[in-house]
Symmetry: C2
């Protein structure tokens, strides 16, 4: 339980605020109260709201990148999927969804650097899933209905949307449906 610097606390709470309310749904005042500083102190670290969000989305993306990178690709595909889905399932049921999913709705309010980081985040997920499908393909007895890259886009989109739907509807069923397709597309399931 390391003590976080003010700057680190600002990032942490910004991650939560965006994942709850979106870019236009939180203010410097909200953030200042959570961290216990005045709004002018936020401007010291992050001159504009765009600077703050850019740093938050970069941090979010870096954490996800590290997490995905740590999944051993020599494991059985089904186990890789389990590790991939674990934090997504854990996060479901809270009032927070994916940060990039939230910012996607606010995209007309965001700067190009933020958008570029978001696009990289999506591609990271899709590339990992594509690689998974490509490695799993030889182990299957039937071919995929669509090429691995397309399948990855569909599965990732269904997961992203399933997380949003879980918050709206209070049920995991759409997330589970996406997970079921992902599992069903793995060898011997």
């Amino acid at each position: 339980m390391k003590t976080l610097s003010v700057r680190e606390q600002l990032i942490e709470h910004t991650l939560v605020l965006i994942r709850r309310r979106g870019f236009n749904g939180f203010s410097y005042r909200d953030l200042a109260e959570l961290v216990g500083v005045k709004t002018s102190s936020i401007h010291y670290y992050f001159p504009s709201k765009d600077d703050l969000v850019l740093e938050a989305v970069r941090e979010y993306s870096a954490r996800t990148h590290e997490r995905i990178r740590a999944i051993d690709t020599s494991l059985p595909p089904a186990e890789q999927v389990r590790q991939y889905l674990e934090p997504i399932r854990t996060g479901s049921g809270t009032d927070q969804v994916c940060l990039v999913g939230m910012l996607s709705a606010d995209v007309l309010s965001l700067s190009e650097p933020v958008r570029a980081t978001m696009r990289d985040y999506v591609r990271m997920h899709e590339q990992w899933l594509t690689g998974l499908f490509e490695r799993a393909q030889p182990l299957r007895d039937t071919p995929y209905p669509v090429p691995p890259a397309q399948l990855a886009q569909v599965v990732y989109g269904a997961l992203q949307s399933g997380l949003m739907a879980a918050r709206l509807s209070g049920t995991h069923e759409r997330l589970d449906a996406a997970a079921a397709v992902l599992a069903g597309v793995m060898p011997q399931s």
Copy 2:
């Protein structure tokens, strides 16, 4: 080209504003300027912003319901899919995405009546797709990878997410991937 009443114009522009900027991303001022009235006139028709959004999401849902209802279920499944996807593809590439997709991100700012209407909207899509899959199933030579209702949730989620991704990335490829899965799951495709 019928002349719209002020009330109708307010709804029309609200639909556009939400689909562009979301609930927290537009103001009475924005809307008033588009329609050419003062903000106090909006309050005459819609006392609170919540009243305005509720009416907008109800109108949006009613239009979609009418559109889907008009698809002849005795047509070949592939043709039904074509008609279902047509306005989604047309809308892609603009700066507007699905209104319910946008409001899903803003859900913590919305009233329960608005949320209930959103949930109904999602179920309407999923039920139509489920029915389509059930009718198409006997015509196929291989079974679905998951039951029709789950498949419907995954396909609808991928379409919703694909529309968002199209605006973020400027490419239709994720929408096309979802459409490809939908087509691939139809008989003789």
